[in-house]
Subunit: 333 residues, 2 copies
């Protein structure tokens, strides 16, 4: 961690100028020391790390403030799915050069999100790289001790629930790339903008974290595609699931693209970057969960049921036929 | 964080295969969940993040196990300088491809160090990059609440102390690059090997952490060069320092290179990668500190005195003349 100091180092000046204002917790020491501290708590501390790479997780032309928001929000989404409240984060930023026109909006977007989500910066490091920009964040959250919501608690009979809508970010990326969705929505700039926004700036469901903590038997965030992430949750819980594809929540724009057969449902449930919460809720808890979600202002949809079995989850169409998805999720390797 | 799951993802298999064995703490859940937990403690949790980039902080030809060790040990060195005991770490690894011949020794080296230093892996993520390999680590340590050793506590009259020897890593890098030190030591393979080893595999002074915690008024690790790092400590403490250059501890090999005038003392005190501890010790505490260091098996040297003043620290030669160092530390930008 490079902190502002007396030395002539450009890194120090960079951190001081751009990132010190984000270090609002007293334990960050204004980024003036080599390390920060989190004070003791009776809670467990949830630890998560996640990175995004230019050209892989974001596009070189993406606005810098959206790159910052995406980097932090991906981590916030994980904390939410684990039932945790954000506590703070550490930042590592690999840059080819110190570009003020990029760093200024990057730091502004990051600072706004840190404030909005109550997740201040505890330490930052910049490193130079000859390669793509990389933003690596480690985030911390609090949960009551022993109560982090795991992937592994789902039981047969539990409802499978997702927040928000699925597939919008995949369509947003398709639109940026001038794909089929762009053609369908050629006359609807606001729909295109909404979908691109869903790709560039996730809306992590931190408002749902308490309801997940109180009611979910298992949870994770949907970041690599609903189908693949559900398969992971089922495997961790040693169960399967039957999903009613017609119940998967779609935005009006996504439904329109599907209706035009420009893309199939498979593209939506295997596309990444949704940052919705996927969770399983015991039947007797569902009403209370739905009420808590409503009070939190987060839409949730019941999309199927946990069943016993070791095979992957089934995605059933209106006729009860399994779609047998070929590609369940995105993998970088 | 990509964890092993049922999906077909190559990332999942990679994490499971190489890094799950390093996740020995129960709070890491065997890397099978999206996040890990640290149990509550009465201590403050010290937070630190640090990254190394291929071609910048390590060389493409460096043995992979040394790359792993350097990435972790840089963080361990910071924890030691803050008086903290290691608790664990998070890893983000950016790779161009899954290269078994690189990953196997990388994971082995990382695992050996995690075991040796009592600093287990709590979570790992791999991301693909078209650019250089990057290893980003966030490390956590425990200190008694309120007692993290800051940069800012040095007071006039305190002794300035460093552990180990200074400048060996800078000479090691010079040797790898075929510089002047390589010529001086052309006939001494073991000296060259020692110096290159000091560059590639830092020896963080975690055994000294308790003595630093108990006795130091200020501390930081020497990673960007003794002169620049001391200037930072002095600035944070609003003091200056007078350093007796002849007291700066050098290895026999470094002394030989200096004697041949192949490189000057400036190269040694402004070179990076020492990973020694720089601290200030109140005069009345020095004997107890030195005794504790001796019991820990770590050599420490008193190299000067904290003085009042706002100018940068003075490096005084045998005639009391200030060397007026032009370059105090290494900066990436």
């Amino acid at each position: 961690m490079i902190a502002p100091g007396a030395g002539p180092s450009g890194e120090d000046a960079l951190i001081a100028r751009y990132f010190k204002p984000l270090a609002t917790d007293p334990g960050a020491f204004g980024l003036l020391d080599d390390a920060a501290i989190l004070k003791p708590s009776r809670d467990d501390l949830v630890l998560k790390t996640d990175a995004i790479v230019e050209g892989v997780h974001f596009l070189p032309d993406d606005p810098p403030d959206t790159v910052a928001r995406k980097a932090l929000r991906r981590n916030l989404s994980d904390l939410a799915a684990k039932g945790a409240m954000p506590a703070g984060f550490l930042l590592t930023l690999a840059l080819r050069s110190v570009d003020e026109a990029w760093l200024t909006p990057f730091a502004r977007g990051l600072g706004e999100d840190a404030g909005q989500y109550g997740c201040p910066l505890f330490g930052g490091e910049t490193v130079s790289t000859p390669g793509p920009i990389m933003v690596s964040i480690s985030a911390f959250g609090h949960v009551p001790s022993g109560r982090m919501v795991r992937r592994s608690g789902a039981g047969p009979g539990d409802r499978v629930v997702v927040s928000g809508t699925i597939g919008d970010a995949a369509l947003g990326l398709d639109i940026i790339r001038g794909g089929a969705a762009a053609s369908v929505l050629a006359d609807d700039a606001s729909a295109r903008e909404m979908l691109v926004g869903r790709y560039r700036v996730p809306q992590p469901r931190n408002l749902l974290a308490k309801a997940v903590l109180d009611h979910a038997s298992a949870a994770m965030d949907v970041s690599d595609g609903l189908a693949g992430d559900l398969a992971k949750l089922c495997a961790a819980s040693a169960v399967s699931a039957a999903i009613d594809v017609a119940s998967i929540p779609l935005s009006a724009s996504a439904a329109l693209v599907l209706a035009h057969r420009a893309l199939g449902i498979e593209a939506l449930v295997s596309g990444g970057d949704d940052y919705e919460i996927l969770c399983t809720i015991p039947e007797g808890r569902f009403d209370a969960f739905a009420e808590a979600a409503g009070l939190a202002g987060v839409a949730v949809s019941s999309i199927g049921t946990v069943i016993s079995g070791a095979s992957g989850p089934k995605f059933l169409d209106a006729h009860g036929r399994d779609l047998r998805l070929a590609h369940r999720s995105y993998s970088h390797f």
